[in-house]
């Protein structure tokens, strides 16, 4: 049976699961595929967080080793989450998959626009403010995933109004 909520009403409205779309970027947790995606993603994110906390508890020392461990852990966690999301996509029916794909497309375009504007604004920031954390920006790039996920959820919610 398909993942998205079922209703006994004969002529019911679409009623997409708003809370789940905004919270998880999915259409609910009633199906095995969606539960699996959410549970496994949370476990992966939790493992990544645990490694980060462990490194923080060790004061990130020895620094070269800890930095490599953190980079490897971050990359592994995000790769695994992306892989699980791909598996989840293939479990959806055609409309739900289309909406997810549209949301991903709009998220990409949103990210592109934001990156373009940051690129434009970056040279000006040199003149306006002194920001001592510039090297950290490169390290933070993987975490853009967590910034983009709410944007995808927002687009998903917007698209659900259309169908």
């Amino acid at each position: 049976m398909n993942p998205i909520h079922q209703s006994s009403s004969a002529n019911a409205e679409a009623k997409w699961p708003t809370r789940s779309m905004l919270l998880w970027g999915t259409f609910g947790t009633k199906s095995h595929a969606e539960r699996r995606y959410i549970v496994r993603s949370c476990i992966a994110a939790g493992a990544g967080l645990a490694i980060l906390l462990f490194a923080a508890a060790m004061h990130f020392r020895p620094r070269p080793i800890m930095v490599r461990i953190l980079m490897l852990a971050t990359g592994s966690v995000l790769t695994y989450m992306a892989w699980e999301f791909r598996r989840y996509l293939y479990q959806l029916d055609e409309l739900a998959r289309r909406m997810q794909m549209e949301a991903i497309t709009y998220t990409y375009l949103t990210g592109f626009v934001i990156a373009a504007w940051l690129g434009v604004l970056w040279p000006f920031s040199h003149f306006l403010v002194h920001w001592p954390y510039k090297p950290m920006v490169l390290f933070m790039i993987p975490f853009l995933y967590f910034v983009l996920e709410p944007i995808r959820a927002g687009w998903l919610y917007y698209l659900s109004r259309r169908y």
Binding site: N2, N11, L95
Partner: protein, 66 residues
Amino acid sequence: MKNCLRVLRAERNLSQGDLADKLDVSRQTVNAIETGRYDPSLPLAFKIAALFDRTIEDVFTPNGRK
């Protein structure tokens, strides 16, 4: 694209959820097709037509054609 899915479904006394189960899609997908907000893929259109023992042309009509 227009369709008579709601009529066909009512004739067989099926809810959107029942039809969704038979088609292996979500109830929202059935709702979106019925209301004309989503045009199904060709395989799904064939599946719908076969379920009601009709041809695709019987179930779906291009906009602007009676």
